[in-house]
């Protein structure tokens, strides 16, 4: 029984982050009430350190470690780097918001970092166990973060709903994985693929497992018909937490889908493509139609998320490298737009006031033309109006679907993104053509001001020059599959 100690080098970012979480926990305890910002600074340092380590240790090729439970490849490195950037932006945006609402505590930052660790584990998982454990680490941190504002009835209700439905989804996923394990006798993703390709596994059992896995995944992606939690959680949770839930975990979820469906069960692509088509079409229909009826902007964005997830799935349905990279591009762009939009909602909120109704955007141009312009760019991008980046994201996904030969699917997608354009452009109309309801000044901190401007301009810049980001996504997928 010889055992070689695992090579820790590919997992240095995860190890560093775990150490830093413990440092944040202890430092916050020692720093006390007055010096809470130390936890914030340490969290940013941790993310920066992770980014440096990931960047320096990134190498072409695929490395496995921890008895093949951990994989380090180009897709993992790129998704992780994007996750750090996203989480760091989330922290900058939410700092002011949580400070005036009594949530600026060490636990907020340590839970954020724990969730980030969970995402990293998911992104580099190559074993059913690690996929599941990473997902649970992420989900448990998120449940706690939603409930962190204990005095708010809405937040508690959202947390309970999120927790129960999330636990149910995890159960689905586990049941599906156990079926696949029963059929193949393997938990390593590479072995599962090998057994399925050899034809030794029982097809019926595999399909039953696949159904449960797809159901679990679509719960986590908030794709219809497993989307019911999203609007309630988005509406009830504190906006800072919604920003977090809506952004970085989507990148991890993309990694999760790639590892589980494409790498693990790629031999059954014909089966899951059929299931995903149903999910994608339902998501686009329900998301876009329900969003029209909303007056709460957070709820509206929840439905918009559902429709965007449907769009993102189109690329995966195409089932080739081009499709996967267009899905990844869509996901990255979606995260960028979500960051800006929720950042703007928090910018308009102030102590004792939540900007969560559509009418709170009325006359923003009169109050501050620059922020109105940034919001205009974000809304155009969400709607998919050229020349901003949302247009290219939609275009590349549609091209992939057309290449795969699903013409009717592309037609449905275009029709419903036209429906979707209505409620995004309604916000633009409210900002530019309506009278403001309040003349309260908008006074963000200096770094938030810079970041939101950069965020809005990035949406425009990537729209004018989308090649670099697209090439990055294509590189990630090519190197890893």
């Amino acid at each position: 029984m010889n055992f070689l100690p695992p090579d820790l080098a590919p997992a240095y970012p995860e190890i560093f982050l775990l150490v830093m979480v413990c440092v944040v926990l202890l430092a916050d305890l020692a720093a006390g009430e007055k010096r809470r910002y130390i936890a914030y600074l340490l969290a940013q340092v941790a993310l920066l350190g992770c980014a440096l380590i990931t960047f320096v240790t990134s190498a072409p090729g695929v490395t496995y470690t921890f008895s093949g439970m951990f994989v380090d490849d180009a897709m993992a490195d790129i998704l992780k780097l994007l996750t750090y950037v996203t989480v760091s932006m989330v922290l900058v945006y939410s700092r002011g918001y949580i400070a005036v609402r009594g949530m600026f505590s060490g636990e907020y930052f340590s839970l954020t970092l724990f969730a980030t660790l969970g995402m990293m584990v998911m992104i580099s998982a190559s074993h059913f166990l690690t996929l599941y454990l990473g997902l649970e680490l992420l989900s448990l941190s998120l449940y706690a973060m939603v409930a962190l504002r204990r005095d708010s009835v809405d937040a508690t209700e959202a947390a309970i709903k999120y927790f129960i439905l999330g636990a149910l989804a995890s159960g689905f996923l586990l049941y599906g994985m156990s079926m696949v394990y029963g059929a193949t006798g393997a938990l390593h993703i590479a072995q599962v693929t090998a057994v399925i390709q050899s034809g030794a596994a029982d097809y019926t059992v595999l399909v039953v497992g696949l159904v449960f896995i797809v159901a679990g995944i679509s719960f986590k992606l908030s794709a219809a018909p497993f989307h019911m939690w999203a609007p309630d959680v988005y509406q009830g949770a504190p906006t800072a937490v919604v920003l977090f839930i809506g952004s970085a975990p989507k990148l991890a979820a993309f990694g999760f889908v790639m590892r589980l469906l494409v790498e693990g069960m790629g031999a059954m692509a014909a089966d899951w493509q059929g299931m995903l088509i149903i999910l994608a079409v339902m998501s686009m229909i329900i998301g876009n139609l329900a969003a029209i009826a909303q007056t709460n902007i957070k709820r509206m964005l929840a439905y918009s998320t559902i429709s965007h997830m449907g769009f993102m799935l189109l690329g995966i349905i195409s089932g080739d490298e081009n499709g996967y990279s267009s899905s990844m591009f869509y996901m990255v762009v979606y995260v960028l737009m979500t960051l800006g939009t929720f950042g703007m909602i928090m910018l308009l909120s102030r102590e004792g006031f939540e900007a969560e109704k559509l009418s709170d955007f009325k006359g923003l141009n009169r109050r501050n033309p620059w922020y109105a312009f940034i919001t205009l760019l974000l809304m155009f991008s969400l709607a998919g109006v050229p020349p901003v980046v949302g247009f290219y994201a939609k275009l590349s996904v549609l091209q992939a679907v057309l290449n795969a030969g699903y013409i009717w699917l592309a037609v449905v997608a275009v029709l419903f993104s036209l429906v979707g354009a209505f409620y995004y452009l309604r916000i633009v109309k409210l900002m530019y053509f309506d009278e403001p309801e309040t003349d309260a000044p908008i006074l963000p901190a200096g770094d938030v001001k810079l970041l939101i401007s950069a965020n809005g301009l990035a949406v425009l810049a990537f729209g004018l020059f989308p090649q670099a980001l697209m090439a990055l996504c294509a590189y990630a997928i090519q190197q890893s599959i």
């Binding site: 997992a11 008895s67 439970m69 660790l117 204990r150 039953v208």
Partner: protein
């Protein structure tokens, strides 16, 4: 039918019956006690599978610690049973129908030959000196060390979250600080006042 089979069927019957009791018992204390019985019987079944370490852990951890704690909580909470049961029978037929349909659908798929005895033959019996505990320890700390560490991190998250969600700093609570009590000086407590004597009226 061998001796092992008799034991298996006996334990399995008790397990299923007690598990049914957990969800049908009116009194939550009874339900918790039946769950203890279910765990205990399950541990017996695991012993038949030569998984003695897991069986003992189940008894020690779940029966010994978790369920006792659970009983405490159930006894301390003042649960209004009538309120919980309201609407149970109204929704029961619908729920039962759904459950039956789902179970039947699953059975059609899974009860086929896929998991039959010739597909999954009995594993060969281990030698007498085979240690399940040692084997588990070896796997957990070598091959599955990454998953093991991740599980530990999840527990840490649970601790952080539980404290963050329940710890409340109340203002205005009255409490004693022993350090300050010990450090007290006479001057803090007694004030010497010199005043001239007064004539009694």
């Amino acid at each position: 039918m061998g001796f092992q089979d008799i034991i298996f069927y006996f334990f399995a019957t008790v397990l299923v019956a007690s598990a049914l009791g957990v969800i049908t018992a009116r009194n939550p204390v009874h339900a918790a006690l039946l769950l203890v019985l279910a765990f205990f019987t399950c541990a017996g079944l695991w012993l038949l599978l030569e998984a003695e370490f897991l069986a003992i852990t189940l008894v020690l951890v779940y029966v010994g610690a978790v369920m006792v704690l659970f009983l405490f909580v159930v006894m301390m909470l003042d649960i209004n049973l009538e309120h919980l049961r309201k609407g149970f029978w109204r929704w029961f037929p619908f729920g039962a129908l759904l459950a039956l349909v789902m179970a039947a659908e699953m059975a059609i798929v899974v009860m086929g030959k896929q998991f039959s005895l010739d597909q999954m033959p009995t594993p060969p019996a281990r030698a007498a000196d085979y240690s399940n505990t040692k084997e588990l320890g070896r796997l957990i700390y070598t091959e599955y060390v990454y998953a093991f560490e991740l599980a530990a991190v999840i527990l840490l998250v649970a601790i952080v979250a539980a404290i963050a969600l329940t710890l409340r700093h109340r203002t205005g609570t009255k409490f004693l600080d022993p350090a300050q009590q010990v450090a007290v000086k006479r001057a803090d407590r007694v004030r010497m006042v010199s005043m001239p004597s007064e004539k009694k009226e």
